[in-house]
Structure formats: C-alpha cells, structure tokens
Symmetry: C2
Subunit: 385 residues, 2 copies
C-alpha cells in the first residue's frame, strides 16, 4: 500500500457558515504537550473553561461545560437528557437546525408540535402562544441564530410564553454565541448548546452547553435512564463536577484550544466583540446594496455573523463559490433546502469578522460577478467600507 504524504492544508479565508478563522494562539495551543484526562493540571484547566463559559453564556449555571462532540452532539445532549418518551415539545422550525431538532426530539420519543415560519423569517411569538394553547409541553425549543438562513429570532417573549405555560426553554446558540448578545440567565433559558467553530473561533470538536438548576432537576428525576450513555448529564456531572469520576476520555487538545479561544473572547470583551460583528456586517450590507444585492433574511432580524446574500438572476451560484475557493482561497457557503441555489452564505464570525476580510471578499466577489456578466461598481461598493 502507498502511504499518503504528509497532509498540508492550504490557507483559506473561512467566510462560510463555520468553521471560521482561528487565531494563531488557538492553533498553537493544540500542539502543547498532551496531558491525561485526570491529571490535576488538566482538571484545573477544566475549571477555568467552566468559569469562562459561564461568563460567555452570561449565566451562573453550575452545569456549564463543553460536551465532547460537535454542535449537533450538544443539541442531542439537551434533548436526550430532558425528554422522555411521550413528552410534548414545541419546536420552532424556520431552517435546517429547527428541522434537525424535530428529528432529534422524535428519536427521543417526543411528541412534537411544530411552530413553522418560512426560511429566512423569524419564529413568531404569537404562533408559539397559539401552539401552547393546544398542548402541555415540557419544553419549548428554538434556534436563536439560524445558520441556514441568517435570521435571528428574539428570545425573551418566547421565553416568557414558555414559562407561563410551565415549560422549559431550550435555545440553540451555535452561531450566536460570541457574535451577538446571548444572555442565558436574563432570558431565563433552561438549556442551551453552542458550537466552538463559529463566533468563538475555535476549531470544531466541542459543544459548550449549560443547564439551569431546573433542567438538572428534570434530568435527575427521570423515570427512565438517558438513552445516550455518552451524553448522560448525570454521569458527566460527576466528571466535570467536584468528584472527578472517570466517565470518558475528554478530547484534551480540543479543550486546550477552547481555553485559549475563550480567553481571547474575554480579553476583547463581549460587548466590543458584538459591536465588531455588527459593524462589519453593516459595512458588508451597505456595499452589497450598492451592488444591487440584498439579504434573504427578514429585515430587522438579520444576523451579524452570517449573511444570506441573494443570488442575482443569471448567475451560476456554484461557479462563483468554486472560483472564490480555488482562485482566491476564500470559502463561502451554499444555500440549503428551499434556499439551495438562491443564496450565498457569507460568514463574518469571530476572527473572520474584520473590515480587511470584508474588503478581500468583496474585491474577489466583484471581479467574479463582473466576469460572469453581472456588472457591479467595485470601487463604489468598496467605498462603503
């Protein structure tokens, strides 16, 4: 057998729906000497990760830690621990990740009531209120920032409705955390999951999660064992808590990376980081306007970190993405589901969100569009930055 050569990845500017660019110090952290998962030095670092995650999530929840899997494992973590067969769940569905929540919840035996909105629109609290009249859900689940459409659903009103109906609130913050306000305690979120590879700018591989005291109580009082051993919060609480009982071997180097990425988030400061995401989004949107290009997501609820740019008629969207990648080393994302072929997804997440990157992208993008027959005024667009 031929043994493959050493893998040498090219440098890409990651402007898709995640992963985003990673700071050099985060990449470097992963090359540090390996420790055992029960080493007191590693355990001390786990404590620092928990403390920093609480800060980033804006929560006091004791049970705040990174699940040893990517964002979807975090989603599954929330449902398997909180849902038992027959439980009712209300889920907001306005994109890929709401759709995925329904699938995950049903695999836990949940009876799901969907609150739907067209892709690109937010979940309407009035429709949630209506759904809550028809069932007695244990949980209301929504996606804060829909990565597939670029829409940001406000949380507070839906949270109030859920709690008034006696339900817990579960929030997907995979794309929002670190890029725009996420306030778990203020918003009374009971269960939340996120990913590392979006606005935290850490490579994928961990899913930060947090459970309120109420969610932990629900998990503890279950009638039936959690269907996933790997994601059972009751056992994970012993490893990540004071007892340090061996559960599974934590991904050591991924935790090194997360530790450094969280440090960078807090050194910048959450509010400054949110402003940076907002300002670069605004600059991009203004430039796109000059080019006659709009965003497909609902006006007033557009994500700062993920821009769903509508593809103009007559342009081959896949060819544009391919040229950006192969000729300019810039990755952007395609549309999914009903938005397939209709939008490009341009991410400005974490490290990627800078004016220099917006300029680099627009310069290449304008050139490709012009050569493809869609004429844009490059200089006028760039002047908006």
């Amino acid at each position: 057998m031929q043994i493959p050569a050493v893998f040498q990845p090219p440098f890409r500017l990651l402007m898709g729906p995640g992963p985003s660019d990673v700071a050099p110090s985060v990449l470097k952290a992963m090359s540090g000497p390996l420790l055992g998962h029960l080493d007191p030095v590693f355990v001390g670092m786990m404590e620092e990760i928990k403390i920093m995650l609480r800060q980033v999530f804006q929560t006091q929840n004791e049970m705040t830690f990174p699940v040893s899997g990517t964002g979807s494992a975090g989603m599954e973590f929330c449902f398997v621990n909180l849902i038992e067969p027959g439980d009712e769940v209300v889920i907001g569905v306005n994109g890929v990740f709401g759709t995925r929540m329904v699938d995950v919840a049903e695999r836990c035996g949940a009876r799901v009531v969907k609150v739907e909105a067209p892709w690109g629109q937010i979940i309407d609290p009035a429709k949630v209120a209506e759904a809550l009249k028809q069932c007695r859900p244990k949980l209301v689940a929504i996606v804060h920032a829909e990565t597939s459409t670029g829409a940001l659903t406000p949380v507070e009103e839906i949270s109030r409705l859920a709690h008034d109906a006696g339900a817990m609130l579960l929030l997907d913050t995979v794309t929002s955390l670190g890029g725009c306000p996420v306030k778990i305690d203020d918003w009374k979120v009971d269960a939340v999951y996120s990913g590392t590879q979006k606005c935290l700018s850490c490579p994928p591989g961990l899913s930060p999660v947090s459970f309120s005291a109420r969610a932990m109580e629900v998990a503890r009082q279950r009638k039936k064992k959690v269907q996933s051993w790997y994601l059972d919060v009751n056992m994970l609480a012993s490893y990540w808590g004071q007892e340090r009982v061996y559960h599974h071997t934590a991904p050591i180097t991924m935790n090194y990376a997360l530790h450094e990425a969280l440090r960078l988030v807090l050194l910048e400061g959450l509010e400054a980081r949110w402003r940076r995401h907002r300002d670069n989004h605004t600059a991009l949107r203004n430039a796109l306007e000059v080019m006659g290009l709009g965003l497909a997501s609902q006006e007033g609820h557009q994500l700062w970190q993920l821009n769903a740019v509508t593809v103009p008629a007559g342009i081959d969207e896949a060819a544009v993405r391919r040229r950006l990648l192969t000729e300019f080393n810039i990755e952007i994302g395609a549309g999914l589901g009903p938005l397939k072929g209709k939008i490009w997804r341009v991410g400005l997440m974490g490290e990627t969100s800078s004016r220099a990157n917006v300029r680099k992208f627009l310069t290449a993008f304008c050139q490709i569009l012009n050569e493809g027959g869609y004429k844009v005024a490059t200089d006028a667009a760039l002047a908006k930055l």
Copy 2:
C-alpha cells in the same frame, strides 16, 4: 472577572491507560491552517484516512471511518445502529468496558445475557457457547483488550460460535488497535470500534469504527430510526461516502492529527509495531519479576500495551502514583472497580512503548518503592532491559 493566564501544560511521560505519548509531527499537524468540513482538500484527506484505517483494521469494509467523539462514542455508535428494542445481545463482562457495554446496550432496549469472568481473566469461549444455547442473540459483543485489567481475550473461537448461532460479532479494540494483532476480516468481526489515544498515539477525540456489509444491511433495514441522530450510520454514510451530504461539522484538526498518526503507524509497519509492543512489555515484565512484582492479569493472556502491576502489601499505591506524577512527570493509572488499590496500570502504548521509557519509569518506580520501605534491587531490575 479575572481572565485566566495562557495554559501551559507541563511535559508528562504518559504511561497510564491512555492517552499515550504523541509524536511531535502529530501535535504539529493540529496547528495546520483550518479548512472547512466540505472543502475538497479536506474531503480528499478524509478519503486517505479511510484507506489507512482499513489497513490498520485489516479490513476491506467500505464503512470504515472515525466517529466524531471519543472511544465511548464509538461503542455507542455500534450499539445504537445495530440494536432495536427487544433484541437479545450476549456480552462478555470481565472489566470496566464490558460492564459499560451492558449499560449502553440496555439503554438501546437490548435484553442482555452476560458472560462473566473475574476481572483480569479472559472470556471463556465455553461459557459463550453455553449462553448461546439459552438465547437467540442478534449480537455477541466482547472487549478484545480490557484496559481496566490488562487481559487480552482471543477472538476467533468466539467469532465462530457467534456466527454459528446466527449472531454478529462486535469487538472493542480501543486498546488493542495498533499495539497487537487486530484482524477484522480474518476474524469475521461485523462491527468494531477503537480510540485514537491508545496505541495509535493520537490525542483523544475520535473513535475509528468499521461495519461489515452485514452490519450495514442491518442498520439500513431497521424498523425504527436509530435513537441517536449524531451517530446514525445511515446519515454518516452519506457524509463519509461519495455523496458528501453535510451531516455534522467534523472535528477538522482532530482528523489532521489522525491522518498523521495513521501515517506513522503504517510507516513503521503493523508487524514491527506489534513486535515493539511485545518486546517492551517483556522487558518490563522481566524487570518486575526481579523486583518480586507480578501482573494481575491471566498468565498467557497479558496485554503488551497495558500492564496491571500488583501492588505489594504495605505500599500506599496512590502515594506512589502521586510521587511519579509530581516529582518525575510520569503518569501511570490506578486500578478500577474490584482492582482499585490492588494494581497500578502501566501503559506502554504507541509512542510511549520504548525501552528508554521503560527504563525511565523503572528508575523512578524503584526509587519510590525503596523509599517507601519495599526494598528492590534497582540495578538487577534494570539489567533485565
């Protein structure tokens, strides 16, 4: 809030039950530029990982890839895909990981028949045969190398019995893969999982798995959806197969590390690597004999990569481990379950398995034992290397 300082892990010699030491080129691989999970360059590397994993597992199975979680996620992957509620499963239980299999299988709704052996002993094929007379299992599952006890259960006879009874064979090779012969096709194993952080000497975070055509057919023909969305092989087959349908965001940098670690395994050659593990184990065992210390695992079935060293009377086993770690930067493992306090677990896995490391460990170990009142002839022991 005080922001923690940059984390700077100390250098440790990892001689516990895993993780093991990692080659510098593997650590360095993780610091390479980050790619997206659908980038054609990353996808090309995924193909190389699959090809190399097949070689290491000694299998032609198409469905051979790393699950995006640690070894226990690989265990769960096998059970959730192959088991439906009510299915019968025979599981060999002679340590922590057989015990864990029972828990995982029961969470899938399996009716489990246990074939037990005292910790440190192997699973007796005669007892498996007996169990197979009492039930009609879909699956027989055993742990090849029990990391908690240091015993290696031979596979071929049990495989024959399982197949004669119409069952599939599931094998845990977390600690065996890369350190001693593992021959998935020759042994007719239908489903296998492993970990990266043992004899493959890659940081923890991925679980290499392989399903035979029969196992894939069973997963495809299920009546009920797989209870885990994250681990559903039918969807993962689309991402890791030719279609490249987005499922979850793969842990990019962990795959970089695995690619490099597999390269190193194949560059050394499997047989040479197995011999190295055998020879360093033999050297350690001979030296321990001079010191009057034995192994707690069954004679003739002792693992080369994990040595269960019996703690002599009057010695505080935890104090020895603590001194090794804090004064000599050497990590070894404690006993678990019924072996708690009775053994030390000394790993010689992957990069860790060298004569120099055996010498380094024994030198420190002898000093600590002598100072602790258990007198050993250090020079005579070291002369055995």
